[in-house]
């Protein structure tokens, strides 16, 4: 599903060049639920940006769903994001001016689907996350958990092959976290590949596989986990 080989990403400012990803290779198979973990500054966000085609990279190759996406133009990347990838963000990223229905509608609009088809998809997605009755509410009228469920409905309505989740429960309390994780698991069971970036060991435990990033590289899974543990409390304080 997702095959990265020797990906390198360097951020350059006038003074310094930061190697955000250094020779990163990763393979996620279709239908997998993978958790990506790592301390702050380990390149998680950069990995997510590159994997989600939100950002370009400097070297290496990336195949997504069998398609080489290493060197694509902006429009092609937009189109792939729109059709194949669904995002779940830590801060939900709902559009505050739009109500729930219109928020879920956003990616479908860009796909240019006909109106009745969009309506059907939106309603079934909202049904699935249990928020159909809130279709005309604004995000500000919803709780955090509900907002994240809307964001997930937005993903579901697009029916992507891959879901990239960025700390999906980072802004939620434990009860809501469980709710969201249940939902993701359910989606995964239906065959959608999920790559989730997280700090939470509890969340990561619900994935089928954990990948650890450090200094822009995937580290050996057999390495001593002490490094990670030391970092977790500091980050969780956010």
């Amino acid at each position: 599903m997702l095959l990265m080989e020797s990906i390198r990403k360097v951020y350059r400012t006038e003074l310094v060049a930061t190697h955000a990803l250094e020779d990163l290779s990763l393979h996620v198979r279709a239908g997998e639920f993978v958790a990506v973990m790592g301390p702050s500054g380990s390149g998680k966000t950069t990995f997510l940006n590159v994997a989600g085609l939100l950002d370009t990279f400097d070297a290496g190759s990336y195949r997504l769903d069998g398609e080489d996406v290493s060197r694509l133009g902006d429009d092609e990347m937009s189109s792939i994001r729109n059709r194949k990838i669904g995002f779940v963000f830590q801060s939900f990223n709902l559009i505050p001016d739009l109500d729930v229905f219109d928020n879920v509608d956003v990616p479908l609009r860009y796909r240019g689907l006909p109106g009745p088809e969009r309506k059907r998809r939106i309603e079934s997605a909202l049904e699935l996350v249990g928020l159909l009755s809130r279709a005309r509410h604004l995000p500000s009228q919803l709780s955090g958990g509900q907002q994240q469920r809307v964001a997930i409905a937005r993903v579901l309505a697009g029916d992507p092959r891959l879901i990239l989740a960025d700390e999906p429960t980072g802004n939620l309390d434990s009860m809501m976290t469980r709710e969201i994780m249940d939902l993701l698991e359910e989606i995964n069971e239906r065959g959608t590949t999920i790559v989730m970036v997280t700090h939470s060991a509890e969340c990561a435990a619900r994935a089928q596989r954990q990948i650890h990033l450090l200094d822009g590289k995937v580290v050996d899974l057999d390495a001593p986990p002490t490094l990670l543990r030391a970092d977790v409390p500091a980050e969780a304080a956010r």
Binding site: R81, F87, F89, E167
Partner: protein, 421 residues
């Protein structure tokens, strides 16, 4: 792209978007009315007179020496002045007439078709000699102009008429009618006689004196205090008096400069020093007559241009703010698959909607202002084609003003979405 969600989203920032709508509306209303006023003024300024305006020069000889109080002396000087001016190099034609194009006034009288018993119809009236129409540059298109003999004869008869009290009957009308041939404008002929050639027909004034039409000029326009700009009756005489002097209309060869004016002045004064000369180009006369109109029109134009600029700046400002404020939202949209051109389209559509709402409101406002503001100004009515022009202008302005901030929005990276505040 459908406008529904954009419209629904707008409701969240009513004031900010309302400002753009209101600005566009006021701008359209003001600009449309300004342009109506400007067009009105320009129509007056640029109305063709029918004359060779650019090459016309008015020369007035105004005597102070007592010798000029004698008719004979006046006549002789007039004749020699005409010859002198005609022989000046650069002069094409010279005529003695009290008609001065673009003076903003003149003299007028009332006449009607003889025997019509209808209302007397006001018209401009001026004297002309055998070269007046050639000097003005407006040809006698039907019939003929005056001959020198006719001018001389009529001058003597007018003088005789003016030097004694006319015998009048019990009805107050003169016992003996006075008759003279005249050249009139086509417009006045139509007014007095209706359609058809006025040639050979006779006008009468309140005394019943007769004016037989022997010639018609098609082109005549001289703005007057009353709406008689196109009406004129020319009668054959020489105009000269001690009090008001002798007015000449000189038609110069094209391209004559101030040297001609100097030459004419020197020659006339050399011939007779007992008078002063006032020489003025007709374009200068026009400039003074139309000055206030021109100033008004130009100032209006400036206000309209500045207003559109101010509104454009306002739209740029508010749209920029919109973009900054929605950076994250734009990043999210990009992450969800919006292409750059979708983002661009989003902002353009949003502003197009606002501009259009402003235009709808502005159209109503424009007519409201028009009724309240310019009802007292003749002809400055707002017309649909003009308003349509204003609508296009504002659409274009709105579009152009949105472009820069909207392009900035397209450069927002989708990776913004993964940044946590």
């Amino acid at each position: 792209m459908e406008l529904g969600p954009i419209l629904r989203a707008m409701k969240r920032s009513k004031v900010r978007f309302g400002l753009i709508v209101l600005e566009v509306a006021l701008t359209l209303a003001i600009v449309a009315n300004c342009v109506a006023l400007i067009r009105e003024a320009h129509a007056k300024i640029n109305h063709p007179s029918g004359f060779d305006d650019a090459n016309l020069i008015r020369v007035s000889s105004i005597p102070f020496e007592a010798a000029f109080k004698e008719d004979g002396y006046l006549d002789n000087t007039l004749r020699s002045d005409l010859e002198l001016l005609a022989s000046t190099p650069g002069v094409r034609t010279v005529s003695n007439t009290n008609f001065l194009p673009w003076a903003g006034g003149g003299s007028s009288d009332e006449m009607r078709a003889q025997g019509s018993k209808g209302e007397l119809l006001r018209t401009q009236v001026y004297n002309a000699d055998e070269r007046t129409f050639e000097a003005l540059g407006t040809p006698v298109t039907e019939g003929r102009g005056f001959t020198r003999d006719e001018v001389q004869d009529a001058t003597l008869r007018f003088r005789a008429l003016g030097s004694s009290t006319r015998a009048r009957g019990a009805d107050g009308q003169p016992v003996e009618k006075f008759a003279v041939d005249v050249v009139i404008s086509r417009a006045y002929g139509r007014l007095a006689f209706g359609e058809g050639s006025p040639l050979g027909k006779v006008l009468e004034d309140s005394d019943g004196d007769e004016y037989r039409v022997i010639g018609v000029i098609d082109a005549f326009y001289n703005p007057y205090g009353w709406p008689i700009h196109d009406y004129v009756v020319f009668y054959p005489t020489w105009a000269r008096s001690f009090d008001f002097g002798s007015p000449f209309l000189v038609r110069a060869e094209p391209g004559q400069g101030d040297t001609l004016i100097k030459a004419m002045e020197q020659q006339l004064l050399a011939a007779n020093n007992g008078r002063n000369l006032r020489i003025m180009r007709v374009p200068t006369v026009k400039n003074q007559t139309m000055g206030a109109q021109r100033i008004t029109a130009t100032l209006m134009a400036w206000v309209a241009v500045l207003l559109v600029l101010v509104t454009a700046v306002g739209i740029v400002g508010l749209t920029s703010f919109s973009v900054t404020e929605r950076t994250r939202q734009i990043g999210t949209r990009r992450a969800l698959g919006a292409r750059r051109r979708d983002v661009l389209r989003h902002f353009l559509a949003e502003n197009w909607l606002l501009t259009t709402m402003g235009i709808v409101l502005g159209t109503l406002l424009a007519f409201g202002i028009n009724v309240a503001l310019v009802s007292g100004i003749e002809g400055a009515k707002l017309r649909w084609p003009l308003l349509a022009g204003g609508v296009l202008l504002l659409w274009a302005t709105g579009l152009l003003a949105t472009l820069a901030p909207a392009f900035r929005a397209t450069r927002i990276s989708p990776a913004i979405a993964t940044r946590n505040v």
